[in-house]
């Protein structure tokens, strides 16, 4: 499915990210029950323990909350947490890597910004 | 969690026994072939005598299931060796088994096939007579029935069974010893020669005395005791030998 088994990112992180995407796409809404570890294991052909680890990750980040005996549900502030996390960590990280590469290639600041704007425009146009 | 299943040894033995009857059905075909060879040889080499006084010749054919019984004993011996081999053992340990249940079900199996072997061996009497009648142009059959009671026949049948079972026990023990340790193959002739030495007497070499121990016993009770004790010792030793056997 959408998991990349050969990726550098551990499967349970990928599971968490996939669930975050589901929340961002609003496939999973606030206070909605998320897939159980067994359902996830079946969906992605992974060990349920791995799936549980992914769910736990989100629980620790307060994106999900527990209802005793019922499973995990999407918390009210889930969307904000996910957005915040993606911006501060993932996006920043990606940009940082891009900048590092630019430094290595001795790309001037203006040129880099130009490239950035160009890509931005291209994706807007799509 | 999945709860552990409680086991009873007897249940497992019964299951293994039933499986063996199906899985080893080849032994019945082997029995059939062996007995048919026995029947043919009984007809061909009828081992009779004849006399002639110039006027006429009296030609006698001996019709007896002896050869068939003897070949059935060899069959039992070979079969017992065969079922101790690795290939057969692997079939067993594919499913639930431990060494005790493996041995007990083997013994139940041997007991059953030896019983079948005994019955069919004794039943070949009729076909041997008919074939003799047809091929040797028999005028009349002389039978000893006078002084032989039904009880004698029953005892004789049981003795036949015990003889065949003795052969199976010997085979099973030999087979199990060689399975446990290949070195025992070399030991076996040594044991046999040793026993021969120990049991020899002034009149007979040892192996004759050993055979006479079983073959010259006229009392049914004594014979049964000798045979059953031997069988129990043989099977008991097999269990002891195989209890440390590594399988599969």
């Amino acid at each position: 499915m959408v998991l990349n088994m050969d990726s550098t990112i551990p499967i349970y992180v990928q599971i968490a990210e996939w669930l975050e995407n589901e929340i961002l796409n609003e496939n999973l809404k606030v206070n909605e029950k998320v897939y159980s570890q067994y359902k996830l294991a079946d969906m992605f052909t992974i060990n349920p323990a791995t799936a549980a680890k992914g769910l736990n990750l989100l629980f620790e980040e307060k994106i999900l909350y527990n209802k005793r005996g019922l499973g995990k549900f999407v918390s009210t502030e889930a969307m904000d947490i996910v957005l915040e996390k993606r911006k501060n960590h993932k996006l920043k990280g990606l940009l940082k890597e891009a900048v590092q590469e630019a430094v290595r290639l001795q790309v001037a600041e203006e040129e880099l910004l130009g490239m950035f704007k160009q890509i931005l425009n291209e994706s807007k146009g799509e | 969690m999945m709860s552990l299943t409680k086991v009873s040894l007897s249940n497992v033995v019964v299951m293994q026994f039933r499986y063996k009857l199906k899985a080893y059905s080849g032994v019945f075909l082997a029995l059939m072939v062996v007995q048919m060879i026995g029947i043919l040889l009984s007809i061909l080499g009828h081992g009779g005598t004849s006399f002639s006084n110039g006027m006429y010749t009296v030609d006698v054919t001996v019709s007896s299931p002896d050869l068939v019984i003897f070949l059935t004993m060899i069959w039992a011996f070979m079969n017992a060796i065969l079922i101790t081999t690795k290939a057969y053992r692997e079939d067993d340990f594919t499913f639930v088994s431990n060494r005790l249940s493996y041995n007990l079900s083997n013994m139940a199996f041997l007991l059953t096939v030896c019983l079948i072997g005994t019955v069919t061996a004794l039943l070949t009497t009729g076909i041997i007579r008919i074939l003799a009648y047809v091929t040797a142009d028999i005028d009349i059959f002389l039978t000893i029935t006078h002084g032989v009671t039904i009880a004698d026949f029953v005892a004789g049948g049981l003795a036949t069974f015990l003889f065949i079972l003795l052969a199976a026990t010997a085979g099973y023990l030999v087979g199990m010893m060689t399975q446990v340790n290949k070195g025992l193959i070399i030991l076996l002739p040594v044991i046999i020669i040793g026993l021969n030495y120990v049991t020899q007497s002034s009149s007979n070499p040892g192996f004759v005395n050993m055979l006479e121990f079983y073959f010259m016993e006229h009392s049914f009770i004594m014979f049964s005791i000798k045979a059953i004790v031997t069988i129990l010792i043989g099977f008991g030793l097999s269990i002891v030998f195989s209890n440390r056997l590594e399988v599969r």
Binding site: N47 | V12, Y19, T94
Partner: protein, 300 residues
């Protein structure tokens, strides 16, 4: 609760230690991958677990019992490998119904469906099957038996890739429905690592490590870059494996217990190590890699 407890287990063949003081435990209802190179002692260990072989030293308990010659352990476990022997007087369908008599949890419906799915002719006998088909049939028996301890020793021998994928999927689905303790030994770690919970890596009869698969993925990283630079950073790191790419460049596998930032700044490339590669690196003998064989022969 631990289904398997193993303490100082030794198995000797003559003077050779096939298992050398190995200790580990396996939790109930987990899928554990037993990984090791050929001759590492995987089969020996599994056969002792199944009660077929006798341990030389140490203690081993399965369901709190010594497995050797234990009927209860035999009843509650099944050992599947490509050497499984079935009588050829019975056809496949009859074999399955025989197996049903032995195993109380036997799932006849599952067995029949799998037989159909993998296009078996139920009237064939086991010995007439191809190697891959035989492994597939054995796997069906292993799954349908639903034993609390299910052991697969190289279950995918001879199976083609599609069947292997089906097997792993079937195993996982069946595990989700009927959680039980499963141990799989296999060469194909990369194919099955996702369905595993734990990995037990052994080498030369010794335990190398036992970890959840996720942790194994983050256990080590590869540092690659200019040899001089890389070497400089290695002082405080645990080196697992080293390889010279060319005269100037090398790549080194190290324990992943440091911050990546500083090495990245040195222009060293940090990349992950797949569990299957890691297992290979961890079990490489003293002799180094295959490259050394060729290097030496060049110098002679």
């Amino acid at each position: 609760m631990n289904v398997i407890e193993c303490e100082g287990l030794v198995k000797k063949y003559g003077s050779l230690n096939a298992l050398d003081h190995i200790s580990f435990s396996i939790k109930e209802n987990t899928i554990t991958g037993l990984i090791g190179r050929n001759g590492a002692g995987k089969t020996t260990l599994l056969k002792i677990l199944a009660g077929f072989w006798r341990e030389t030293e140490g203690t081993i308990t399965v369901f709190d019992r010594r497995p050797f010659n234990n009927l209860e352990v035999s009843m509650n476990s099944i050992f599947v490998d490509d050497m499984m022997s079935f009588t050829n007087t019975l056809n496949l369908k009859e074999l399955l119904s025989e197996a049903q008599a032995f195993y109380p949890n036997w799932d006849a419906e599952l067995a029949e469906r799998l037989l159909g799915y993998f296009n078996f002719n139920p009237r064939l006998v086991h010995q007439s099957l191809s190697k891959g088909k035989r492994s597939t049939f054995n796997m069906i028996v292993g799954l349908a038996a639903k034993c609390p301890l299910t052991i697969f020793d190289e279950p995918t021998t001879g199976m083609d890739r599609a069947v292997r994928k089906d097997f792993y999927r079937a195993l996982l689905k069946d595990y989700l429905l009927n959680p039980r303790t499963i141990i799989i030994s296999s060469h194909h770690l990369d194919e099955m690592e996702d369905i595993l919970e734990d990995i037990l890596l052994i080498d030369e009869g010794k335990k190398v490590l036992q970890l959840p698969v996720d942790e194994l993925k983050e256990y080590a990283v590869t540092l690659s870059g200019r040899t001089a630079v890389v070497m400089q950073t290695l002082q405080d790191k645990e080196v697992i494996y080293k390889r010279n790419v060319d005269i100037d460049n090398c790549s080194v596998v190290v324990r992943n217990n440091f911050l990546h930032g500083e090495v990245k700044q040195l222009g060293i490339n940090v990349s992950p190590v797949t569990p299957s590669d890691l297992c290979v690196y961890l079990t490489k003998g003293q002799g180094g890699g295959i490259d050394d064989v060729f290097n030496k022969s060049k110098s002679v």
